[in-house]
Symmetry: C2
Subunit: 412 residues, 2 copies
Amino acid sequence: MTTGATTDERRARAVLSRAIEPGDEHAGRWLRHYGPTDFVTHLLRTPDGMDARASHSSGTPGGEPLPGSGDLGGDPFPGTGGKRVASWRLRATAADPDRDLDTVHRLGGRFVVPGDTEWPRQLDDLGDTRPIGLWVRGPADLRTWALRSVALVGARACTPYGAHTAADLATGLARHGWVVVSGAAYGIDGAAHRGALAAGGATVAVLACGVDTPYPRGHDQLIRRIAEQGLVVGELPPDSHPTPSRFILRNRVIAALTRGTVVIEAQHRSGSLVTARAAARLGRHTMGVPGPVTSTLSAGVHELLRGEATLVTDADEIVELIGDMGQLAPTRRGPVLPRDLLAPAAKQVLEAVPAPGPTPTTVIARRAGTTPDDTLARLYELHSLGFVERRGEGWQLTNTATPGSNARRGGT
Amino acid sequence: MTTGATTDERRARAVLSRAIEPGDEHAGRWLRHYGPTDFVTHLLRTPDGMDARASHSSGTPGGEPLPGSGDLGGDPFPGTGGKRVASWRLRATAADPDRDLDTVHRLGGRFVVPGDTEWPRQLDDLGDTRPIGLWVRGPADLRTWALRSVALVGARACTPYGAHTAADLATGLARHGWVVVSGAAYGIDGAAHRGALAAGGATVAVLACGVDTPYPRGHDQLIRRIAEQGLVVGELPPDSHPTPSRFILRNRVIAALTRGTVVIEAQHRSGSLVTARAAARLGRHTMGVPGPVTSTLSAGVHELLRGEATLVTDADEIVELIGDMGQLAPTRRGPVLPRDLLAPAAKQVLEAVPAPGPTPTTVIARRAGTTPDDTLARLYELHSLGFVERRGEGWQLTNTATPGSNARRGGT
C-alpha cells in the first residue's frame, strides 16, 4: 500500500518513532546525518560496544568540527547530552517495529515515511523537527488530500457560537472540495470534523497519541468515523498516550500539513495560537474568525487578528485566500497526471463519474462498485489531481477533464 | 468669544454657510479664489449688474485659463454651471447673517471660521470641501478638544452588544482623557455620547442640521446635555434640516476632526463605513470593533477589518494606536503654552487643581468657583495643552506641570 521507502528504512523509522519524542531537533539532526538505518544501528549498539568504525561520525551534524571532538573517541552522538542519548537507546532497545507495523496494518492503516509516494512533502518545511513518519488510518491518500487542506482549530471549552461557526465553516469548505484538518479534541475540533463529515466531505484528524488509541475517549465514535470516511494521522506509535508537550508538538504537524490555519475561538496563550503562529512561520496562511469583544474565548483570536492573521467570516473568504496555490492548484489548469498513471481504484471511480451535471457520491460509488467512503477518498484525490470538482452535494468532471477523454471512455 | 477672523469675513461666511451645501467642491474653489467677502459680493451682484471690473476673474480657480473664457465676458464664475450659481445666488440673497449669528449667540454659541484661534486646523485637510465655518454650542474650545479626540460611529439600529460596546469604549476613552466625537444619531452614536457623559467625560456631537434644531427629536435631551457638558457642532446654519446627502457629508467632518475613527457595528454599505474610509483617506487611524460573524450588523465592520482598518477590542488598544500623535501629543513633553498665555478661565481652573493626587471635577469646580460643566471644558483644554491629566475619575497636574510652577502658586 505504501511505496517508496525500503522495508529496512521503514522498520528503522518505526523504531525511531518509538524511541524519539515528536519534534526532537537533536534527533532530527542525527537522522539527517546518518539516515534512519545507521541511526538505529548506532542507537542499538551498547556504549561498551563502540569501536573505531564509528570515527566517521566524529563531528556535529552539518559537518562543523566539534570543539574537542578528538577526546570523544567513538561516541556516535558527540555534542548531544548523554542522558538524552541514553533515553533514545532505552526506548529503541525496547521497540518492536514489526509488532507496531502489524498493529496498524490490522486496523487497515500504514506507516508513511519520507520517500513514500504518500508522504506529504510540505512536512519537509519543518526541517529537523519533521516527523520521523506518520501512522495513518483511512482509505485516502494523505499526500493528495493534504494538497487541498485547511486546518480549523480552536478552544476545547468553546461557546455555542464557536461550535456553530466551526461546523459552518467546515461544511462550507467541504462543499468547496477542501479537506478539513483538525485535532479531534472536544469543542472546535470536534465541531469542525463533524461539519465536514455531515457535508459528505473529507476530514483529517491529527492525533497527539497512537492512532489505535484515540483520545479523547469521548470522541471514540467520531475518530472511528473519521478513519472510515477520512484519515486519522499521528506521529506516535500504537498505544502511545498524549502528554501536554505532545499536544503542543502535534500542532506543528497540523500547521505544516495544511495550506492555512483558521482559529475559531481561543483564549490568550492557547494552543490554537501556537498552531496559528507555527503556520505563519511556515509561510502558511493564518486566519482568525472574530467574535464578540466581550468573550474571553475570542480574545486570543483578536490578538492574532491584530497581528499576523487575516480576518475571515465564511468559507468563501478562506477559499479565496488559500485558493491561490500556485503549482499546487492543478484544478484550474486541468489534470496534472495522465489518466493512465492513476491508481486502478482511482481510475475506477473516475470512470464512474458521469459526464453531465454533478452526481452524488453514493451514486458514483454504486456505479464504481465500491463503498461510498472509499469513493469519497478517491474523489478527493481526483479533485487534488484536477480530474473532478465538487459542485454543491455532487461531483462532476472538470472542464478540461471532460472533452475527448470522456468521449473516448466508451459509455458508462 | 471667537477671535481671529474679521467681522466682515465672519458675516460673509455666515452668508455662504446658508447659500452653499456642505462639501460643495466648486464653491470651495471659488472661496479659495476670491476669499469669503469677495465671493459674497460676486454672488449678491445680479447677473445684469456685471461689469468690466469682474474681468480679473476670467479664469478657473487655480489660474488655468479656461478654454474660450474670452467669450464669458464678466461672468465671475466661469466654468461653473449657471444653475448651480443661480442656486447659490438665490440662497445668498435670502440669507440674514446677523439673524443667524444672533440666534446662535442667544443659545450661548458661536460661528467658528478659518482664521479663528478656535478653528480646528486639521479640517484644512479637507481641501476645497473644508466646511465654510462651524456653528458651535458648548463651553469648550473646539480646537483644543479636537486635538485629543476620537470618533465612535456605527449603526442606528444596533444590537445590545453594539450599544454596550460603544458605551464601554466611550467610558474608557473618557477615563483616558480622550474626547469622544459622534453624530448624535440613535444607536451607536447615542450610546457613545452617553458613555462619555456618564464617565464625566468630554464629548462632541457633529450634527447634519442646525445646532438650534437638534435631530433626531428623540435625542433632544441628550443633545442639550452635550451642549452643556461638551460641544454640539454643525456646518449648517440655524433652523436647517438634515437630508440624506447632509448626513453623508457630515461624516467627512467627523473623520477630519478626529485622530481616528472607530466603527462599532455597521452593515455592508453603511454610512459609518463612509466615515471610516474618509478617515483612512485623510491619514487618520481607522479602527473596527469585531462582532459575531453571524451578525449582519458586524458584516460591514469585518469588511473594513479585512481591508484598511485595525481591529480594536478596548479603549486601551484605541489609545495605544492614536496616542502616538507626534507634535499633537504635548502631554508627554509637558505644557505647550506658558501658563501666562492661558485664557483667564482656564488659568482659574488650573489653579484649582491641587498638587497631590487626582481630584474629582466637582471638587475642582468648587475651588475654582465655576460650574462643573465649565470646569470640565477647561480641564480637557488644559489636558490637550499638557497641563493636567486624567487619572480614573479625577484630574491631576502633569509631572512636568507640577514642580516649581505649582510651588510658585502660593497655596490654595
